[in-house]
C-alpha cells in the first residue's frame, strides 16, 4: 500500500524586542544566568504584568506579513503546567483569540508551487532554561518572559522536503519583515512537527505524533522523513500509531518516544485575570502594514523582472535576507549583475555552505566582491586567478587589488610575451599541432592548457586562444605552401 505523509508545523519565534513581554528586563542572548530577571518574570506574589507595546506591534507585523487576518479584540489566557522552567506554573499565552488567523506561505518544491495555510499566530511568553546536574536541576530565567510568537500551520505539508521549504520561506519572511533574527542555532526560531501517515487517497487523518528537538533545517527534514517511514513500518506490520511526543536524536537520526501526549484540556486554559482584553485599532494595523518592507517573494520578482535573473537563481539569492542584502550592495557597488549573481551563487554560497558559516561571519565586503568582478571584466585577472583571489578575500577580508598585486597575479596581456610562449608550446607539441591540422579541434584546448600552465594561469585565455589559432593557421599555410 502507498502511504502519504501529512505534516503540520508549530514554529516558535522570538521577537526582536529590547525587553520582555510583561516586564522591563532585557532580552539579550548570552547574559550571565538570571542577570535579566526581576520580581515580575520570577513570579513574585503581588507583581502584575505590563504588556510591551512593541511585542504586540511585531506580532501584528509578522501576522500581516504572513497574510493573516488580525483579531481586533484579543486577550491573554493562562496555560497551566508544572515544570521548574515556568515560575508562575502557568504560561501567558493566547487560546481562543490569537492575534493572527488564516494566513499562508507560498512554497515551491521541485518546480511545483504550493500554498501552505497558517491556522493561527499568537503571542506568548518563553519559559526559562534548565540545566540538569547530578546535584539537582539548575534554572536560568533570562529567557523566561521573552516574547514569542507561535505560528501553527495547517496539516498541508506532504514531506520533509516541503516542511523544510516552508520553514525556509517562513524564516525569510520574518527576517525581511524585521520581527526576529530567526536563528535556529541560538534558539530564536524553534520548530515542532506533527507527523502522521495515511493510505494515499484517504481523506481522514491518521494518528499523529509530535516531534521535538530539531535544531536545524536539515534535521527537520530528516526527522520527518524518518518518522513517516517508522509509522508506515508500524502500520505495515499490523500495529497502531500511539499519539505521543517523540524526540529527534540528531546523532542516530531516529525519533525516540518521550511521553504520551497531553490533551489540550490538561492545560486548563482560562482568560488571564491580571490583564484586560485589548482592542487593536484599525489605524494601528494600517500604520504597521505600511511599515512592512519588501518581502522575499516581491524581491524575487524584482530580480527576475529588473535584472533578468532566472526564477531559480532569484529564489536562491532571496532565501536569506543577509545574503540578498549583500548581493544588492555588491550590485550597487558596480559590475555586471549576472556575473555578480553567478559569483554569489557558486563561490560565495558554496564557501559558506562548505564552512557552515553565514555571510555575517566572513570579513569580505560587497565592495570587494564588486571590485573582483570588475578586475575580471577589465581583463586585469583571469577567471581562474579570480577564484584564488576570492579564497583569500573571503578569508582575510583584504581587498582584491592588493591581493593581486601582492601575489603578482596580474593577467598577462602582453602580446609579444605571450607570442613567445605560444611558439614555444607549438614547437614542443608536434602531435597536438598535427591533430589540430588534421581537423581535431579539441587539440586546441590542450595547447591552450599548456600555455596557461607555462604562465601559471595568468595569461588572458582569450588572447592565448587567438594567438594559438593564428600560429596554427600559419603552420597550415606553410604545409599547404609550394
Amino acid at each position: 500500500m502507498t502511504y502519504e505523509t501529512v505534516v503540520g508545523l508549530e514554529v516558535h519565534v522570538e521577537l526582536a524586542t529590547k525587553t520582555k513581554l510583561f516586564c522591563e528586563c532585557r532580552t539579550d542572548f548570552g547574559a550571565e544566568p538570571n542577570a535579566n530577571t526581576c520580581p515580575i518574570c520570577l513570579a513574585h506574589p503581588g507583581t502584575l504584568p505590563r504588556l510591551n507595546e512593541e511585542a504586540v506591534a511585531l506580532a501584528i507585523k509578522a501576522a500581516l506579513s504572513l497574510g493573516c487576518e488580525i483579531t481586533r479584540e484579543t486577550k491573554f489566557d493562562r496555560k497551566h503546567y508544572f515544570y521548574p522552567d515556568l515560575p508562575k506554573a502557568y504560561q501567558m499565552s493566547q487560546f481562543d483569540r490569537p492575534i493572527g488567523q488564516n494566513g499562508f506561505v507560498e512554497i515551491e518544491v521541485d518546480g511545483e508551487k504550493k500554498r501552505i495555510r497558517i491556522e493561527r499566530l499568537h503571542l506568548e511568553e518563553d519559559a526559562g532554561k534548565l540545566v540538569h546536574t547530578p546535584a539537582g536541576t539548575l534554572v536560568d530565567f533570562n529567557r523566561g518572559g521573552v516574547p514569542l510568537i507561535e505560528i501553527v500551520s495547517a496539516p498541508d505539508l506532504r514531506s520533509g522536503k516541503e516542511a523544510r521549504a516552508y520553514l525556509e520561506k517562513l524564516r525569510a519572511i520574518l527576517a525581511y519583515a524585521g520581527v526576529s533574527d530567526v536563528r535556529m542555532e541560538e534558539g530564536s526560531l524553534r520548530c515542532d512537527a506533527n507527523v502522521s501517515v495515511r493510505p494515499l487517497g484517504e481523506t481522514r487523518f491518521g494518528t499523529k505524533t509530535e516531534i521535538k528537538n530539531m535544531n536545524s533545517l536539515s534535521s527537520v527534514e530528516k526527522a520527518i522523513e524518518y518518522e513517516a517511514a517508522r509509522q508506515v513500518e508500524v502500520l505495515a506490520q499490523g500495529g497502531t500509531i500511539r499519539q505521543e511526543t517523540r524526540r529527534f536524536d540528531e546523532a542516530r537520526r531516529v525519533t525516540v518516544a518521550m511521553r504520551a501526549k497531553e490533551t489540550a484540556a490538561d492545560y486548563r486554559y482560562f482568560p488571564d485575570p491580571d490583564m484586560v482584553p485589548f482592542t487593536i485599532p484599525e489605524a494601528w494595523i494600517d500604520e504597521i502594514r505600511a511599515s512592512i518592507p519588501e518581502l522575499p517573494d516581491e524581491r524575487r520578482g524584482r530580480y527576475i523582472e529588473q535584472w533578468g535573473l532566472s526564477p531559480y537563481d532569484a529564489g536562491v539569492l532571496t532565501l536569506e535576507k543577509d545574503v540578498s542584502d549583500f548581493f544588492e550592495a555588491t550590485v550597487a557597488a558596480g559590475g555586471d549583475v549576472k556575473t555578480i549573481a553567478n559569483w554569489m551563487m557558486v563561490e560565495v554560497l558554496g564557501y559558506l555552505n562548505k564552512h557552515q558559516k553565514t555571510i555575517r561571519d566572513v570579513p569580505m565586503t560587497p565592495a570587494h566582491l564588486a571590485q573582483l568582478v570588475r578586475l575580471i571584466e577589465d581583463g586585469t585577472i583571469s577567471g581562474r586567478i579570480a577564484k584564488t583571489v576570492f579564497q583569500e578575500m573571503i578569508e582575510s577580508g583584504a581587498d582584491p587589488k592588493s591581493i593581486v598585486e601582492a601575489k603578482g597575479l596580474l593577467q598577462i596581456q602582453d602580446v609579444s610575451l605571450l607570442e613567445e610562449v605560444v611558439s614555444r608550446v607549438v614547437e614542443a607539441h608536434p602531435q597536438s599541432v598535427a591533430d589540430y591540422l588534421a581537423g581535431k579541434e579539441r587539440a586546441l584546448g590542450h595547447l591552450v592548457g599548456q600555455v596557461m600552465k607555462e604562465t601559471k594561469g595568468k595569461a588572458n585565455p582569450k588572447l592565448v586562444n587567438d594567438l594559438l589559432q593564428k600560429a596554427l593557421e600559419a603552420k597550415r599555410a606553410d604545409h599547404a605552401g609550394p
Binding site: P33, N52, E73, M275
Partner: protein, 97 residues
Amino acid sequence: MIAVTEDMVREIAQAAAITLTPEETAHMLRDMQEIVQFVERLKAVDTEGVQPTIHPVALVLAMRDDVPAQGHPREALLALAPDAEGGYFRVPSVLGE
C-alpha cells in the same frame, strides 16, 4: 446539565496539583455543583443578538514602551530562593523528560 461527580473533583485537584482530604473533597463537590447550577440559571437568559463579552469591565489596557529598566540585583533575587548556585536557582532534580 453537567453532573459534577467526586471523580471529577479528584481529577481537577490532580491537574492543579492539590491534595484534598475526603472532607475537602465533599466540600468542593458541593461548591462546584452550586457553581454549575448557577451557570444553568444564567443560560436561561435570552442572549439573542448580544455580542459575546470577553471581560466584564470596560477597561483600556495600558501598554508600556519597549525600554529596558535598570536591572534588579541578581544576588538579592537569588537570596530569596530556597536554593541557588553559581547564579542559577536550584530545584530538586527533574528526572529525564
